[in-house]
Symmetry: C2
């Protein structure tokens, strides 16, 4: 298990991940559905935040969800139990050394994982190995360089940039979304299609103001507070002002924009 997962493994973070998935599910997952009997691998399921939606949208598929973190899998199993989901099996596994035979799965699903891996092309090749011929892959990533907002203050940008820098310090790629096309191509997938999924929020969209700006974005930024201040990326005063200013984007005159990328391809 990697101890340095940028968002941490706290209970609060697990709640943030599930909140986020709930808010974003209609945008990201509505068109991902696998037929009865399909063998689907979810790679890097974490606490099961996306697994709920994957399983609900494909209730007749047989899903195997793997993660390198045992505590996350324990959390995920408990979550499936509470949600009454029974078509998912969990297994500890490293994406780079998957314990499955070649050409085992019809589909591979991987969401918000590549950004955290040091060798994303290697990971995609490993996933391709266990995919059946003509099997398909679905990859979802954000891109923290896609984010902008109104009003835009220096301190709010600084706080936001701290998250990007914190991820880079841990050898993650916070700008992964824009790279999905070249990475999938380089890994040898064909028929690569990238579909940007835009989250645009203004005050006419009350649910997103709360669920996205506050509970997803600001909560995610706040998660790197200790690391950002501790490593001298930002002063405590600038941090506080930045977080306060980010909240202004959730006011009636504020707007917020973020872009996810959903990629699909075939082996």
């Amino acid at each position: 298990m990697r101890e340095d997962y940028v968002h941490g493994y706290s209970e609060r973070e697990a709640i943030r991940l599930v909140d986020q998935a709930e808010t974003l599910s209609p945008l990201l997952h509505y068109d991902t559905s696998f037929p009865e009997g399909s063998l689907v691998l979810e790679a890097g399921c974490g606490v099961g935040a996306q697994t709920i939606h994957l399983a609900r949208n494909s209730p007749q598929a047989e899903i195997t969800s793997v993660d390198i973190s045992k505590p996350s899998l324990t959390h995920a199993k408990a979550l499936m139990g509470r949600e009454g989901i029974s078509n998912v099996q969990f297994q500890t596994a490293d994406i780079m050394e998957l314990p499955f035979a070649d050409e085992t799965f019809d589909h591979v699903f991987i969401c918000f994982v590549l950004e955290h891996l040091p060798d994303p092309v290697g990971a995609l090749k490993s996933l391709k190995r266990v995919l059946k011929s003509e099997g398909s892959i679905t990859v979802i990533e954000g891109d923290h360089g896609s984010c902008y907002f109104h009003p835009e203050t220096k301190e709010a940008i600084n706080a936001w940039q701290c998250m990007i820098k914190a991820q880079k310090e841990l050898n993650c790629n916070p700008l992964m979304g824009r790279e999905l096309y070249p990475l999938l191509s380089e890994a040898g997938f064909k028929e690569v299609k990238i579909d940007p999924r835009v989250v645009y929020v203004d005050s006419s969209k009350g649910e997103l103001v709360d669920g996205f700006i506050k509970k997803t974005i600001i909560a995610m930024v706040e998660g790197v507070k200790d690391q950002a201040i501790g490593s001298g990326l930002i002063t405590p005063e600038t941090w506080d002002k930045g977080i306060q200013d980010l909240h202004m984007t959730a006011e009636p005159s504020g707007t917020f924009f973020y872009n996810f990328f959903k990629g699909t391809a075939k082996k």
Copy 2:
């Protein structure tokens, strides 16, 4: 006529604007169509780049297109003649002092204009005055802060930022897109709806690689070269490297992202 229009009034710029409108028309204008006999005001038509598409999508509407620049209107009239478009009348006018009675028009259309005006809310209020009760407005703007690309080099970002700074030097607002919702609300419009229109380009989209990255974006950046170097925003060497690097985003491993905003509202 404003002499300081950031993109200039050159013949090359007129060609860029028409090229750009041609590439972006399906994205921006496909759903803007006004019924037979509608009285439509296009505010700030410039050289007629958007007018062609507005007129073609509403062939039975009576369009009045105004601009503050007589040379631009001469260009626009000639363009309509060449394109065989006959449902547009042109007139010189300042958006802030429109020579029309209250409640004259059924619709107002304004595209890539607000960003250049020192008082956008005042302009929207002026347009609202000439709109009939329950009439509607369509506003389209870009947002230069929405742009990002892969690969991302320091010099490419610098060159791009020069365009943002050049616009700000001329009191324009290169980040207008994100402000459409609060501006339309502040001007007193109701039922404000903002729809982000994403341009995402990778090498599977050959037409956009050429029409958008090269002919729209890089051509637009190149348009501020003299101003940027002349006012010391960037060195000639960094500029050349930046432009060269922006071209890398049009290579097979490159990607490019930009976001337009289309707003509609009622009086």
